[in-house]
């Protein structure tokens, strides 16, 4: 008995190690992959659209790849693997990308996948009023798409932009049957009327309740890293929308669903304490959750105050208090799983209250008011953080309150946190009525996030920094496909914004969680993106 217990512990530990490494998540109970069966998976978010071109919610990504596929897909090293394309070739000047397409692929409505279909999709994305965000951000440098022959397409750019490959691997770049795009009554909402090439076919959508997919028996074109080839294992998979985390966990522990996504720190013990369940986590790609200092006005126009704020804060302790050790601390604006992450930044700044206080004294914030906050010329050292309620997740409001208490205690900084509606938040940002802006982005290539957040005219530039040197670095980093050259540019950039300019206070790397019955095999996190993968390689143990 005792012996068996030890054995079980060893197996469990080995499995946990496998899971945290982003492995297949297979368990003994699940056994070897087996075909058949139907799975129910409770998810937190009901997508606002089922049209992949309109995709805007990272939480909906695990649904997209069931029925739709892109030309390329990410590997786990910052490169790309063929998917619906058999490969790509970039011209030496970086202005043209030629992709050879698979010739054996059919959409689920029976029409054939070819170069004309790819062009029809891209042209639709470039048309006015269809997907303004995709057109203005991901495709801003795309000039045209040409059909070279039925199995070859050529993307021509106005300037070198390696992020086009990221687009070609993204949900927005998924190829939808052109016939269904034309016939769809509610094109932007998508749904059962849009046909893709994926391993499953969406056959039922009950708004507010569930999505139901059935297996596509003709499927035989999985990418090399999908885990197996041929049709999916499961006959059917149902995604049920359960917004309440405790209800999701309860549904799992009582066996009403086999898999859930989204397990908050507070609910984790219920999963880990149950011998029939497993929990695995994946760190998301993109930018880490960070505070961006607004340098457009006082007090953060002074680099000393920015440095002092970071010195005043012990991020590790704050995260421990809020997330009970389940959060991964971020040291850079670039997420720690990105191939461009600069590991040398770790432990180079922060948690030095003595230095924070000395810096603030030297910067002229030497006096204190009756509440203990620092002042300068009678003005309190105040920083306002405005959070938009609909987008607060991971208890970021609680985290902000904890930071508020920490910087008050250690350095007399008055952090004011306001959780408001979307309209009020937008107005505060537009009027510059904030000193700290909080954000994380789940872009697969962190370059996409950095372009939005840090370039002078970036759509989410809230630091107010307009620095030609920064723009140059960001430009250089996307003008080449060579990952080591890109890496060098991004390291220089991280050194600049984190160490030299102290523009950002990184906090934690956002993560996703999957909890499941141990009889479910093949659950995994998508390489690079770090979000739960599709149901293609998932099986039910007998």
């Amino acid at each position: 008995m005792r012996h068996r217990f030890r054995l079980a512990t060893v197996v469990t530990l080995a499995l946990l190690a496998g899971c945290s490494g982003g492995g297949s998540g297979a368990t003994d109970e699940a056994g070897a992959p087996a075909s058949g069966g139907s799975l129910t998976w409770a998810v937190e978010t009901e997508p606002i659209t089922l049209n992949p071109h309109q995709y805007a919610q990272a939480k909906a990504r695990l649904l997209v790849w069931n029925s739709f596929e892109a030309l390329l897909t990410h590997d786990d090293k910052g490169g790309y693997l063929p998917w619906l394309a058999t490969g790509y070739e970039a011209s030496p000047d970086g202005l043209a990308y030629t992709l050879k397409l698979r010739t054996d692929v059919k959409f689920s409505d029976g029409t054939a996948f070819d170069a004309a279909a790819v062009k029809a999709n891209t042209d639709l994305l470039l048309s006015e009023g269809y997907a303004p965000t995709v057109k203005a951000v991901q495709l801003k440098n795309l000039k045209s798409v040409e059909i070279v022959d039925p199995a070859t397409v050529k993307y021509t750019l106005t300037r070198p932009d390696v992020l086009i490959l990221d687009f070609l691997s993204s949900p927005q770049g998924a190829i939808v049957s052109p016939a269904s795009l034309t016939a769809a009554k509610n094109l932007k909402a998508g749904g059962v009327e849009l046909a893709g090439t994926g391993p499953f076919i969406l056959d039922r959508y009950s708004p507010g309740q569930e999505l139901h997919f059935k297996k596509n028996p003709a499927y035989n074109w999985a990418p090399a890293n999908a885990g197996h080839s041929g049709p999916a294992y499961l006959d059917e998979v149902t995604y049920r929308f359960l917004k309440e985390s405790s209800v999701r966990v309860g549904a799992l522990t009582s066996g009403q669903v086999q898999v859930i996504e989204g397990v908050p720190a507070t609910d984790e013990p219920q999963i880990t304490g149950n011998p029939t369940l497993t929990l695995s986590k994946g760190l998301n790609s993109g930018s880490a959750y960070s505070y961006y200092f607004n340098t457009a006005h006082a007090p953060f126009d002074d680099i000393k105050v920015r440095q002092a704020f970071r010195d005043a804060l012990d991020v590790g302790t704050v995260l421990q208090a809020v997330y009970r050790g389940t959060a991964t601390r971020a040291w850079s604006v670039v997420g720690p799983t990105s191939p461009f992450y600069d590991k040398t930044l770790e432990s180079t700044y922060g948690n030095d209250p003595a230095r924070a206080n000395a810096t603030l004294d030297a910067a002229g914030w030497a006096t204190r008011d009756s509440d203990g906050f620092r002042t300068k010329n009678g003005k309190r050292l105040t920083a306002r953080l405005v959070q938009s309620a609909p987008f607060v997740r991971d208890r970021r409001d609680i985290l902000a309150q904890t930071v508020q208490a920490a910087v008050k205690q250690s350095a007399g900084i008055d952090l004011q946190v306001a959780v408001v509606d979307q309209g009020t938040a937008t107005k505060a940002l537009a009027d510059g009525q904030y000193e700290i802006f909080d954000n994380s982005r789940a872009d697969t290539d962190v370059g996409a996030a950095l372009n939005l957040l840090l370039t002078s005219n970036g759509a989410i530039n809230r630091t107010g920094v307009k620095d030609p040197a920064l723009d140059g670095l960001l430009d250089k980093a996307v003008s080449t496909g060579d990952n080591s050259a890109r890496s060098a540019s991004y390291k220089e950039l991280q050194q600049k914004v984190i160490t030299t300019d102290a523009l950002i206070q990184p906090l934690y790397a956002p993560a996703d969680q999957i909890a499941a019955a141990k009889t479910v095999g093949g659950l995994h996190f998508e390489p690079t993106a770090g979000v739960p993968g599709s149901a293609y390689n998932v099986w039910l143990g007998k």
């Binding site: 606002i48 309440e244 979307q422 989410i460």
Partner: protein
């Protein structure tokens, strides 16, 4: 004549409700464009495309009149956020909500009548009114979670989520019915108490009627009057309650649609939901008035 007047008044209520909802959303901070953009990329180009797509650059008055005009013609418009006709968005969701509301109302009323009639003894009365108070003052959210964790997670008697058959309706309906029953029982009991002090009860007892018959046939009828007038309140409670119940139980329905639409200032959807709720309210109040005529013969004389 009365029917016409009722109809006219009903239409006025609908118009006022729609207008009030429109003004409220207009007064709320931010704009429709903000909520469509959300926390995504925000450039002037993206903004202008959204404004163009939905004709949001027209003056508020013109937009308002346009809404009314289209409403009058039965065109509910398209949802900004969900990109589908509002008719589809709402149409899909009305039935699950109405089913839940009716089940909860029925259950609540039956429970209330039973409790008011049976808990007449001092001790049972004390237990019951304590329970009623607790139920009325507990957030439905909590009641739902407790019921779920006991009957669904522990004993596996009922499924947790969705609009899938009768079993899935049981827990949400009970959750919604309990507070309703709590309030109605108190009103009914109070009514019965007062009726029992009336002289006609003495007469009835003197005729040799049993206590149960006195209660059910005479006192209850009197106690029903204030309870029936609460039907309007009931409508509001149920429609407000489904928002929470549907979220907790993962049920489809108007509540979830409303929550999302209000949060994102999805004007066409909000207006449609408000008009629907107002219509339900008018309908229920009319039904309540008719019911009063049935219950109380004295009212019949005064109206004719």
């Amino acid at each position: 004549m009365i029917v016409l007047r009722r109809l006219g008044a009903g239409l006025v209520v609908l118009w006022v409700a729609a207008t009030a909802a429109y003004l409220a959303l207009l007064a709320a901070p931010g704009s429709t464009v903000d909520s469509i953009i959300g926390d995504g990329a925000d450039t002037p180009l993206i903004r202008s495309q959204i404004i163009q797509e939905w004709n949001l650059d027209r003056p508020a008055v013109v937009q308002y009149l346009d809404y009314l005009w289209r409403f009058g013609h039965g065109d509910l418009g398209r949802s900004y956020l969900l990109q589908r006709p509002v008719r589809d968005v709402i149409g899909d969701q009305i039935f699950p909500t109405v089913k839940l509301a009716l089940a909860a109302a029925g259950l609540g009323i039956v429970l209330a009548v039973l409790l008011a009639l049976t808990t007449r003894r001092p001790w049972s009365r004390r237990v019951s009114s304590t329970a009623e108070l607790v139920l009325v003052s507990t957030p439905p959210f909590l009641i739902g979670l407790v019921l779920l964790s006991v009957f669904s997670f522990q004993f596996g008697l009922f499924p947790v989520s969705g609009d899938r058959g009768l079993a899935a309706l049981v827990l949400p309906a009970i959750t919604l019915a309990l507070p309703v029953a709590g309030v109605l029982t108190q009103v009914l009991r109070d009514g019965i108490d007062r009726a029992l002090e009336e002289p006609f009860v003495v007469t009835a007892r003197a005729r040799g009627l049993r206590e149960r018959a006195v209660l059910a046939r005479h006192a209850l009828r009197h106690a029903l009057l204030p309870a029936v007038s609460l039907l309007g309140w009931l409508c509001g409670t149920l429609l407000g309650g489904v928002v929470i119940i549907e979220t907790v139980f993962g049920r489809p329905g108007l509540g979830q649609v409303t929550l999302q639409a209000v949060g994102s200032e999805d004007m066409p959807v909000v207006l449609a939901v408000v008009v629907f709720s107002a219509a339900a309210y008018v309908l229920l109040n009319t039904a309540a008035d008719l019911a009063l005529l049935v219950v109380d013969p004295r009212l019949r004389a005064s109206t004719s």
